[in-house]
Symmetry: C2
DNA sequence: ATTACATGTAACATAAATAGTTACAAATAA
DNA sequence: TTATTTGTAACTATTTATGTTACATGTAAT
């Protein structure tokens, strides 16, 4: 099991939009950077749009950030791309036997534990913004300056 | 996406073994409490055994705890049942375009962020033991005392 | 208006993982 | 030797992620 790569791709897209603010970032262009199909990008951008993180319009080329880079946390992206349902990072086994001591109480016992682990994860994601990611990308690039040809 | 219910079932099994220490807990018996197939239980018990959390022997009926309840954390169980590979709670998108500024740096930028979120989750799981779960189960049962018939 | 082009979506194709099931070999105790 | 249980292989069904083709719809520019 792994949390869908949609999350990673979402971060990629937003970072790209942040760095290429001048350019027209079409789904085809972004797809080349991510190295996938444009339709995959459009679907994810659709989710980011619904979460009001980007602006896109049918018929008009290019997506744009709807917020400052520093106002978008990883948690925003994580929630936007729907990799995990509200309370469901951890799967539960349904219908344990109610005529068993453990069976009838396990769900209630486990729930708060799972919730708090999930919250710990989400808080960690909330502490990082896309701006942080972009800054890190630019810093890495500096450190290998000279060899940076750019196709996109 | 959800983390496999194997994790929840693993917790269920260990709690049951803790509560029914006197009894002989066969896979069939446990399966009734969890409400699933005995083979599913055996597979999970096999994982718990490999992680040295339980003792079982082929031919000998019943599984037993290999440690004190208070020495088994949820993280131990989580790792035992292999719901998540070592560094892979978050899926990455493979092969982003190396001729793009973002493409060639995104992985490195994201990795530590994902790792620390995963660590936050795991630390939360590490703070809880099966003993805590069992205590909670027994406490819940008390609060509805009187109606507690037991089939298992 | 027509054209060119991009977005938005439906529909489908794999592929991988989960969960369950049947069947049976191997181990053990009585 | 017999009955019972664990351990596993093999198979099925279901779900989800990801990618792909195809096309309708929206927009701007000619």
């Amino acid at each position: 099991m792994s949390i869908s790569s949609r999350f990673a791709v979402g971060i990629h897209i937003l970072s790209l939009l942040g760095i290429n603010q001048e350019d027209v970032n079409t789904s085809e262009y972004i797809a080349k950077s991510v190295n996938t199909n444009p339709v995959v990008i459009r679907k994810i951008i659709g989710m980011l749009k619904k979460a009001q993180l980007v602006n896109v319009r049918p018929g008009v080329a290019g997506a744009e950030l709807a917020k400052d880079l520093s106002d978008i946390t990883l948690l925003d992206v994580y929630k936007a791309v729907n990799v995990v349902q509200e309370k469901d990072l951890f799967g539960r086994h349904e219908s344990p036997n109610p005529s068993c001591l453990v069976g009838r109480n396990i769900q209630t016992a486990i729930e708060p534990l799972f919730s708090s682990a999930q919250r710990a994860l989400e808080k960690s994601l909330e502490n990082v913004t896309i701006q942080d990611v972009v800054s890190d990308i630019l810093k890495q690039e500096e450190s290998v300056a000279g060899q940076n040809q750019r196709e996109c």
